[in-house]
């Protein structure tokens, strides 16, 4: 919808601008051409009237009226000539190619007369433009009339007929009317051609503009809109394909980045919520289970004391005591995860904790053929954290990393980085990796890939500890390539 709306609006605007431009073009170029045609026709008509005037001059002087009539008739029949008339001074039509008009008198207001007779005193000379007049004939084409005054000359008043006296300046007017059909047809044909070309041009331009508007604006805007709607309806996985590097391309890129961050934030909040409720549940279970566990532990250890002379029973009882103590550790882990165990925050050096943790699990690492590469920042500031819990975090992560490497040789890379208001701990391994679907669940309690070997609480505890330190832990993984955990801890300002 909107795609076509923007496109149509642009096409409409461009079309209107086109039409206006073409109209201006017409006025500026075509109008003078038309005027030139008329001027040429005027000149032709004037020349014709001059020709008639000189042709009939002899016959007029000799008063051969029939010859004059014949000449005028002959000329008047020619193609393109509408009428040839000669008026006397009073407006009487003396000669005409239209015989019906002869001897009729026209009014001074008649179109052929008003050019001179509008003023009080009739004009005696006129320029060519002033002598001509253009009017529309009944057939729809225009006619051009040219008047040519017939001046008195010696031969006229000395002639034997004595029709004119010496004082007259103008004896009459020769009026030649030619039709402008040819010119008009040409103009019309031109006009039609121009209109057709204009329409074609506007259509073509609109199509071209439409195509580019759609390609450059419409499609990207539609994609943005589509993506916005998808995101609004909760699809955080949708990304816009970026095809250009223009502003819309940048916009799409920013949009993608925004959705990326939004989805990360949302996932983090979701994870936080989920783990918080799991934490409450775990804490509740742990509290409830503490008392029964006390019962089992005390009774079994009591029996252990009472059955010193029954080695077989003792053996079994020891299993009960050992497993109950394992339960105790799980409960302890659960409560750690549930952030119920208070942390003892002191100023700690994360580098030192990492080195210390590595020392603790050194044996395990060398057995697993794991090489540890360290890149610890020298300028790492002390942060307020629970040293024990941080150590637990590092040990859990390093043990996981070395477990992920399994039996083959591999590397664990540990780095600390000082950033503006936080420190970053990066721990990656070249192990088996974690699939994308599992990445969202690894921080949940009792998620374990180690079967009997682990409690499934390791990463949940890590999450709980990092949350409690107002930090953030993220994980990236590629199956077969390895996993990277990134921990960010805030540097608190000195109080």
């Amino acid at each position: 919808m909107v795609r076509s709306k923007i496109g149509y609006k642009l096409i409409l605007v461009v079309g209107i601008v086109n039409a206006i431009a073409i109209a201006i073009f017409l006025i500026v170029i075509i109008k003078p051409q038309c005027d030139g045609l008329i001027a040429q026709a005027e000149l032709g008509a004037y020349q014709l009237s001059e020709t008639i005037k000189s042709s009939v001059r002899y016959d007029m002087l000799n008063n051969h009226r029939d010859d004059v009539h014949r000449i005028i008739d002959t000329i008047g029949r020619q193609n393109g000539i509408v009428q040839v008339r000669i008026f006397n001074k009073e407006g009487g039509i003396i000669y005409s190619s239209d015989h019906d008009e002869i001897d009729k008198t026209v009014d001074m207001d008649a179109e052929a007369c008003y050019a001179c007779h509008t003023a009080e005193q009739p004009l005696e000379s006129l320029t060519i433009e002033e002598r001509s007049r253009v009017f529309e004939a009944d057939d729809g084409f225009r006619n051009l009339g040219v008047i040519n005054p017939i001046y008195n000359e010696t031969g006229c008043w000395q002639a034997a007929c004595h029709a004119h006296n010496e004082t007259q300046i103008i004896l009459g007017v020769l009026d030649v009317t030619v039709n402008l059909e040819a010119a008009d047809r040409m103009v019309r044909a031109n006009q039609i051609r121009i209109v057709i070309i204009t329409i074609l041009m506007i259509t073509f331009l609109s199509l071209v503009i439409g195509f580019f508007v759609r390609k450059l604006i419409g499609d990207p805007v539609y994609q943005l809109l589509h993506a916005t709607n998808l995101v609004a309806s909760g699809d955080m996985m949708h990304r816009i394909k970026i095809n250009s590097k223009d502003e819309l391309g940048n916009l799409a890129q920013s949009f993608n980045l925004m959705i990326e961050n939004l989805s990360k934030a949302r996932q983090h909040i979701y994870q936080q919520d989920k783990l918080a409720s799991l934490g409450r549940l775990a804490a509740g279970v742990a509290h409830e289970i503490n008392n029964p566990l006390t019962g089992v532990l005390t009774y079994s250890s009591f029996l252990l004391k009472r059955t010193k002379d029954h080695p077989k029973i003792q053996e079994d009882l020891r299993v009960i005591v050992r497993e109950t103590k394992r339960c105790r550790e799980i409960v302890k882990g659960l409560l750690d995860f549930a952030r119920q165990a208070p942390s003892k925050k002191t100023k700690v050096n994360i580098n030192k904790i990492i080195l210390h943790s590595l020392l603790i699990i050194d044996n395990q690492l060398s057995i697993d053929h794991v090489t540890v590469k360290k890149e610890l920042a020298d300028d790492l500031p002390l942060i307020r954290a629970d040293a024990n819990q941080m150590q637990q975090v590092m040990i859990n992560l390093i043990v996981n990393a070395s477990d992920a490497i399994e039996t083959k040789k591999g590397d664990i890379y540990i780095a600390t980085i000082k950033e503006d208001k936080q420190i970053k701990i990066v721990l990656s391994d070249t192990g088996c990796g974690i699939s994308q679907e599992k990445l969202t669940t690894i921080f949940e309690p009792f998620y374990s890939t180690k079967g009997q070997k682990g409690t499934g609480l390791g990463l949940a505890v890590v999450w709980g500890i990092i949350e409690k330190h107002k930090g953030k832990i993220t994980v990236d993984s590629v199956i077969g390539k390895g996993t990277t955990f990134t921990i960010v801890l805030p540097i608190e300002k000195k109080s």
Binding site: N291, G295, T298, V331, K344, T346, N388
Partner: protein, 259 residues
Amino acid sequence: MEYDVLAIDDEQVILDSARKILSLNDLSVDIALDAESALKKIETETYKIILTDLMLPHISGFELIEIVKKQYPKLPIIMMTGYATLDNAVRSLKIGAFDFVPKPFDIDELLSVSARSLRYRLSIDDDNLAEQWAKCLSKKIRAESLYFLGNHSWARLEPDGTAAIGVGETFSRTVGEIEKIEFPRIGDDVFQGSACVKIFTEYELAHTVWSPLSGEVIDYNRNLEEDGYLISIDPFFEGRLFRIIPHDLENELENLIIS
């Protein structure tokens, strides 16, 4: 009637196991399911020590300690706490509990702590011993300004920024004949209110020392490896346990009592 122990918990199984365990040492145990009935019993019966849960309905373990301490200052109270409530354990020591035992506990843990509290009770009931007690809290200790976690353990701030850690007299005089001491490893961190040293004594007892401060262990008193008796005769100097670089004096000193 006269009992050795009054055990208070809202869970029968805890009371039963306490009774079973303590009867191993021929201790007579009376029980109460809440603080109100316990207080009534304390009025009518005689008890040597009290073993109480922290989370009790209506009147909590803390309130119970305060009430009992006011009326029966000689009656030692052992607090049973869940793991999650380490701060509560520290708090209970501060307001006067003799010691605490985290749940779930095993038989040795309960036997050890009850043995010590019984010895303490016997010693303060004995007039001669009571005199010695008075002497113990002598001038030299006051001058030293020690920070006590209840009467259980102490920390002394040294001029070089470290802190010496040791046990108090209620511990040293009741622990009995020391056979073996398990120190924390140098470089390890210890935490306020959590176990830092285990002391093994006669009768297969194992006593836990709760650290008064958090910090990194920098050395321990090697003389004690040969002669654990030093703890009993001079707990504040020769019998000190180990030294730490404290992590968080600012916040943790609030939980301690200055002598």
